[in-house]
């Protein structure tokens, strides 16, 4: 019986799940290190959006990552701005919720079957 080779999607999902877990642990433990800023930033900019973008059929890596970053930042802005607008400012709690939801989605990507890729013709023909 041969072991299945993990797909690129699964490798990325596992890496981002680790980043998500690390962010969650550092935040929950309120661990003070300068690295925490960079780890939290990397999580906020990459992980939630990738967890959503990976539900699209496999596309060009540039498209996947561009959408992942855009959606991550958009989610971060919406979470932060909602707290500011409503006047309920709990950044640590909000981050932990985001960590939990992202982790669940990333685990789902680790176990689900890959979506077949599709590649329509370019908009501008040669």
């Amino acid at each position: 019986m041969s072991a299945r080779i993990p797909t690129t999607r699964q490798v990325v999902a596992a890496t981002l799940a680790l980043l998500t877990l690390l962010t969650g642990v550092l935040t929950a433990a309120d661990f003070h290190t300068p690295l925490r800023l960079w780890i939290t930033l990397a999580f906020v900019v990459l992980a939630p959006g990738w967890a959503l973008a990976a539900y699209f059929p496999a596309a060009e890596p540039a498209l996947t990552w561009s959408v992942a970053v855009s959606l991550s930042i958009a989610l971060g802005i919406l979470v932060a701005q909602t707290m500011v607008s409503v006047g309920v400012w709990y950044p640590t709690g909000a981050l932990l919720v985001l960590v939990g939801l992202t982790f669940a989605a990333l685990v789902n990507h680790l176990v689900r079957r890959p979506v077949p890729s599709s590649s329509p013709p370019p908009l501008v023909p040669r």
């Binding site: 935040t27 540039a62 989610l75 370019p122 501008v124 040669r126």
Partner: protein
């Protein structure tokens, strides 16, 4: 389709020499050499760049800015990297991973130059943005009535969120490399958009490189516009990939009623629309222009028959209007004239954005001319690319309209004199896509007399664009960059200012406002002085409690106002001898004056 060389313009004809579909034309030896040469050239380029780097402070720079301080070794790295890119692009099978690595190197060489060679983050506005974010982090709300930018606080709220959630109160470490990271993300977005529009082929890489090499606007510093630009490109890429299906190339006009359903599954289309809606929701409270522009571009796609979901542009535009009316009420109730006062006054916008900017000494004029030349060159290349497409493959006007539409902002307002610059930034992605067709045609030209020339011309063109952008981006650095000594002087003033006191600067080129927002008020003499030549009287009239003077401001006075060398020292001497101020800090060029207690306020 085989091009008819008797009816197409010469440079559009595909030569046998480079066309990948004619393998006999390229020798095996050349191909084998190419495969190892391009990584070696790229590696050499990065090594030369790193070896050629050296620290530069504002005091060393003249009116041409950073370019005068760059070593020849470092400058040599640009043509070498671009030679590697062009050689890889014309290979039989261009290697995607290498091209991605080269693009990353390109981002480092173009956008990482200033962070790597300057001591601290440049541009005073970037520092001010940290101050806004830190205020929200500390208070959980915006400071109403303080600054119009608090009416679009999405980006500042995000930074405040990260700041508090990571337990870090000082976000200034994010500033220095922000331009390289944010510009890199924009390049990634451009690559995604170009791939969706042009397919995964050479032209998509050329479009990416044209974008990378001609984004001279410097709107990639730590700011809402830089982050929202990345989001906009992501949204446009999603749209182009999942929600657009143009009519066949032979159909000249599609129109609103001729739209076709994209080929992707209904679920994919639904996901794409939801994702774009999410991006639009985040853009609305984050930047005043970007969502309007995204809505406008989607509307162009709809009206020309490209975009399938007809509701999308309207919802995007309604969202931006809703936030403007409800969320940004604090801004427009006091500044409505700024928003609608110049609608339709194109002359005013052009004067503010172009002619009134052509002030300063010779070096400054050279820098401004380089920016205009770069913009015109991109425009000409885009026009040539559109003509090529129009003649050969598609008669659609959509891409041309998408590249032109952002300049419609000029009709609406001057945007504080920046409207042409912003229009260029928003037009650049589609202009680069069109221009890539022209540059690709250069690579495959038959009118150039040899294969070497056919390769050399694009390398020279791309190098000229890249070096012009490096020149333009660093052109103001004599007064927009700072040394650590400048920051130490500002820190000293903030440490000694009591709540309610003011810290002033002579020109706007000082990193003020990055701490104690709402407690200590930053002031700039330049902003309130009607006759800057009589600055000594303005300083006395403004009567800041602390006045910070740095080499950057000395340079600004010389370059922008024609003041003599040493004008800040003369001014300090006057202020001290008059008894109105005393010098309380003087280290490594950074000086702080404190108002003398009991001195009469002018």
């Amino acid at each position: 389709m085989t091009p008819d060389t008797t009816t197409t313009i010469p440079f559009l004809a595909v030569p046998e020499a480079i066309n990948p579909s004619t393998p006999t034309a390229v020798s095996d030896r050349w191909k084998a050499l190419n495969r190892s040469v391009t990584p070696a050239l790229a590696a050499l380029s990065v090594i030369l760049w790193l070896v050629g780097l050296h620290p530069v402070t504002p005091g060393q720079m003249g009116s041409l800015g950073l370019i005068n301080q760059l070593s020849p070794i470092l400058l040599l790295s640009y043509p070498i990297l671009l030679a590697a890119v062009v050689l890889e692009l014309v290979a039989d099978r261009p290697r995607e991973r290498l091209l991605t690595a080269y693009a990353t190197a390109g981002v480092l060489l173009v956008y990482g130059l200033q962070p790597a060679s300057e001591e601290t983050a440049r541009l005073s506005v970037a520092w001010l943005h940290v101050g806004f974010a830190q205020y929200i982090a500390a208070h959980g709300q915006v400071l109403n009535g303080y600054d119009g930018r608090f009416s679009w606080p999405g980006f500042f709220s995000l930074v405040a969120f990260v700041s508090r959630a990571s337990g870090q109160t000082d976000m200034t470490p994010l500033l220095q490399w922000a331009p390289a990271v944010l510009a890199g993300l924009a390049v990634l977005g451009m690559r995604a958009l170009a791939t969706a529009v042009l397919g995964s082929e050479r032209r998509a890489w050329i479009a990416t490189w044209l974008f990378l090499l001609t984004q001279w606007t410097e709107q990639d510093y730590f700011s809402p516009q830089a982050v929202t630009y990345v989001l906009m490109l992501g949204g446009l890429a999603l749209t182009a990939r999942y929600l657009v299906r143009p009519l066949p190339a032979t159909s000249p006009r599609a129109g609103l009623r001729g739209r076709l359903v994209p080929l992707d599954s209904p679920l994919d289309r639904l996901l794409a629309q939801a994702a774009i809606l999410l991006i639009a929701l985040a853009l609305a409270p984050s930047h005043q222009l970007t969502l309007f522009v995204l809505g406008g571009l989607l509307l162009v796609m709809l009206l020309t028959g490209w975009l399938w979901p007809a509701w999308l542009p309207w919802v995007v535009l309604i969202l931006s209007l809703l936030w403007f009316c409800l969320g940004a009420k604090d801004f427009w109730k006091d500044h409505l004239d700024l928003v609608i006062g110049h609608v339709g006054q194109i002359n005013f916008s052009v004067q503010q954005g172009l002619s009134q900017r052509f002030v300063g000494d010779g070096g400054r004029i050279v820098i401004l001319t380089v920016r205009v030349a770069l913009t015109c060159t991109v425009g000409l290349l885009a026009a040539a690319g559109w003509w090529s497409l129009h003649r050969r493959t598609t008669r659609s006007w959509t891409l041309a309209l998408l590249a032109i539409a952002p300049f419609g902002l000029i009709i609406l307002q001057s945007y504080g004199g920046e409207v042409i610059l912003r229009s260029y930034l928003f037009a650049l992605p589609f202009a680069a896509i069109l221009a890539s067709v022209a540059v690709d045609a250069l690579l495959t030209s038959t009118w150039l007399d040899s294969r070497r020339t056919a390769l050399a011309v694009p390398v020279v063109l791309l190098t000229a664009l890249g070096l012009a952008t490096v020149t333009a981006r660093g052109g103001n650095d004599a007064y927009t960059s700072f040394s650590r000594a400048d920051l130490a002087a500002v820190d000293y003033a903030y440490q000694h200012a009591a709540d309610g006191q003011t810290v002033g600067a002579l020109t706007a080129d000082l990193p003020l406002g990055y701490k104690r927002i709402g407690a200590v008020r930053p002031l700039t003499v330049e902003a309130t002085c009607p006759d800057f030549a009589a600055i000594d009287a303005c300083v006395v009239a403004q009567a800041s409690d602390f006045l910070v003077v740095t080499p950057s401001q000395e340079n600004a006075g010389q370059i922008l106002y024609g003041f003599p060398a040493g004008w800040t020292s003369q001014l300090i001497h006057q202020l001290v001898t008059s008894g109105k101020y005393r010098l309380v800090y003087d280290q490594n060029g950074g000086r702080v004056l404190a108002e003398t207690l009991g001195a009469p306020h002018g």
